[in-house]
């Protein structure tokens, strides 16, 4: 039951980017595409620009952009890079 409930938990993501730098733009596009295709209707994506909020990145232990954080369901997981490797992203997001 617990497993099932977690399954139903909404996917909470936070993507750290740097302005409109190319990898950041690609990462936004990639994560949106993946969410739209595999996690439609039950995801929450927050995009944080380190140029505006560098302290938040440091607080989350993020030192490079783009970095995608999966906040929930736990465990917290990270993917670094432009998220072009869909399989790797899916594996991380589905991990529990």
């Amino acid at each position: 039951v617990a497993t099932l409930r977690r399954h139903d938990e909404a996917l909470r993501l936070r993507l750290y980017i740097a302005g409109n730098a190319p990898n950041s733009l690609r990462a936004i596009a990639n994560v949106k595409a993946i969410c739209g295709k595999y996690f439609a209707s039950r995801n929450e994506l927050e995009i944080v620009d380190v140029l505006d909020q560098p302290r938040r990145a440091l607080a989350d232990g993020v030192i490079v952009t783009p970095t995608l954080l999966k906040l929930s369901p736990p465990p917290v997981q990270r993917v670094v890079g432009d998220l072009s490797d869909t399989n790797q992203v899916l594996l991380t997001l589905a991990s529990r």
């Binding site: 980017i17 740097a18 302005g19 730098a21 190319p22 990898n23 950041s24 380190v50 140029l51 909020q53 560098p54 302290r55 938040r56 990145a57 440091l58 607080a59 989350d60 232990g61 993020v62 030192i63 490079v64 952009t65 783009p66 954080l69 906040l71 736990p74 465990p75 917290v76 990270r78 993917v79 670094v80 890079g81 432009d82 072009s84």
Partner: protein, 553 residues
């Protein structure tokens, strides 16, 4: 700011995994920015990368501007850096060379192994400057002087070498030429210096032999012995002349000559010199063969070439000496080594002897190069010929085949035949005189000899050992008609002395005597116009004739 949801602490394993992923992303260029924990500011990598790229381009430009080869090689011998100059010399592009093995790609096979061993020594820090040939893409070999340093990584581990290389191929060739020129110059100085003293001694030996011979009764038993002394002296004089001609310090008096006449006059002498086994054939041109040259030098050339030809035919054969006129046009200039188109006279000396290999031909004109047995040749003969001919604006061609024979052709610019005197100039008879001659010579024996020879001819002779004495004698004797002076003397030189004397009496006649001289009376070895000159060693006949000639002018 949403900081409430602090993330759970990660394990070391997780951190390591993340670090690895971050590095992988960095390496694949997927990272835009790094947040600096200390300054809490993001650093955009694109800007940093641009700066880095600019820095790298700038460094590359510096490398490419360098006029030396810059080369880095890793421990395995792979090329990790090469600049434009390196690519220019080797004929490859940098992209073609990166990653390739330096030793296999750019070194001649023959020296590959030894250079690799040297490379190991460079890595060991034993060697820093080396020279070796490199192989270019087109197969050429260039000599490079390398300065090597060992490259270390941050941990101090040796990771390869960095070398700067200068292409010294051309410089080395020039140095070689320069060394050769210096050698010749040194030999020249030596020859000149020795010849000066030597000629004085020979003049005394020959002069006194002559005096004794003239005074001995016809049937005296010593006559033959003295004759031998005289012959040896004459041969020694020939040798000195050879040295001087070779060192280009000989004083020459170019006159208009007919090569036909010079060769014909030498025929009898050559016959005696060459020996019975060899047939001497002389071919003369039907028309005069005019050349402006020093007769003694032309004779010397013929002699040197004839002797070489004889020595090339130990079992006998035919020696052909030919004088001819030849016009060389654009077309056949190609077949005549180093001869520009124009009108020439050519002196050919051809033998049917052993011939020469290309190796011997290549060194033919080198001084002291000889194929003759020890003691048989000086190695100066052809070097001398070359020296004389070059100085006269001519050139020498060699044609030889092993087992068939050799032909040497000496080309001189053809002189204007119109100027040629119809008959030989009338020889001035060595007539005795009544005038007064002042002899100035620092060498005692020579001074005494000149005095004696001239007194025998009936002249009144005053002798001075130097310019000062000469001036005193000149001031005390108004009757002096002619000054016979050495050129090089301690104190004032001959030309300095005569300038002073001529200021007092412009009509005074002057003769210089020397075996070798400085630029005071010659330019490029040729007498200045109007100067009377007596070559040492001289005989009573040449001395008497020269004195008469000048006094009668």
């Amino acid at each position: 700011m949403k900081t409430a949801d602090a993330l759970p602490t990660r394990t070391l394993a997780q951190r390591l995994q993340e670090a690895e992923a971050t590095i992988a992303a960095l390496l694949s260029g997927q990272i835009d920015a790094v947040v600096d924990a200390a300054s809490k500011t993001p650093i955009l990598l694109s800007k940093a990368q641009d700066a880095l790229r600019r820095e790298r381009d700038r460094a590359q430009r510096y490398l490419d501007t360098a006029e030396v080869i810059l080369l880095a090689v890793d421990l395995a011998g792979r090329i990790t850096l090469i600049n434009r100059k390196g690519c220019d010399v080797l004929g490859w592009t940098a992209d073609e060379l990166f990653g390739r093995n330096w030793f296999e790609t750019c070194l001649p096979a023959a020296i590959r192994q030894s250079v690799e061993q040297t490379f190991d020594k460079v890595l060991g820090g034993d060697v820093s400057v080396i020279e070796n040939y490199v192989l270019t893409r087109s197969g050429q070999e260039r000599l490079i002087e390398w300065r090597n340093t060992v490259v270390r990584d941050d941990l101090g581990q040796i990771v390869g070498t960095f070398s700067s290389g200068a292409d010294i191929t051309d410089r080395r060739a020039l140095e070689e030429q320069f060394r050769q020129a210096q050698k010749m110059e040194a030999i020249g100085r030596l020859a000149g210096g020795v010849a000066h003293d030597f000629n004085n001694l020979l003049t005394v030996i020959l002069g006194y032999s002559e005096l004794v011979l003239a005074d001995l009764p016809l049937d005296d038993s010593h006559k033959a012995d003295i004759g031998e002394i005289q012959k040896a002296g004459t041969r020694a004089a020939g040798l000195t002349r050879q040295l001087l001609a070779f060192s280009r310090k000989q004083i020459i008096e170019p006159t208009l000559l007919d090569l036909n006449v010079v060769v014909a006059d030498m025929r009898a002498m050559l016959g005696r010199l060459i020996g019975e086994d060899v047939t001497v054939a002389v071919k003369l041109a039907s028309a005069p063969v005019p050349v402006k040259a020093d007769r003694g030098q032309i004779e010397q050339i013929v002699l040197n070439l004839a002797v070489n030809a004889r020595d090339a035919m130990p079992k006998g054969g035919t020696l052909t000496i030919e004088a001819a006129n030849i016009d060389i046009d654009q077309h056949n200039a190609k077949t005549h080594v180093s001869v520009e188109p124009g009108s020439y006279v050519v002196l050919s000396v051809t033998d049917t002897g052993t011939g020469m290999t290309p190796q011997v031909q290549a060194r033919l004109f080198e001084p002291f190069f000889t194929t003759k047995e020890r003691g048989k040749g000086t190695g100066l003969g052809l070097a001398t010929v070359q020296g004389i001919v070059t100085r006269s604006g001519g050139s020498v061609g060699v044609y030889s085949e092993v087992g068939k024979g050799t032909s040497l052709k000496v080309y001189f610019p053809r002189a204007d035949a119109e100027e040629m005197p119809v008959a030989a100039p009338p020889q001035v008879r060595a007539a005795s005189g009544v005038q007064t001659v002042l002899v100035v010579e620092d060498e005692r024996g020579l001074r005494a000899l000149a005095k004696r020879l001239l007194e025998r001819e009936g002249y009144t002779v005053l002798a001075a050992a130097n310019a000062e004495e000469a001036v005193q004698l000149f001031d005390a004797n108004a009757s002096i008609d002619l000054v016979l002076t050495d050129v090089i003397m301690p104190g004032a030189s001959g030309p300095e002395l005569t300038r002073r004397l001529l200021e007092q009496r412009a009509a005074l006649k002057v003769i210089y005597m020397s075996g070798y001289t400085d630029d005071a009376i010659v330019q490029h070895g040729i007498l200045k116009p109007g100067i009377a000159f007596l070559n040492k060693p001289f005989t009573s006949e040449t001395l008497g004739r020269k004195i008469r000639e000048v006094l009668d002018r």
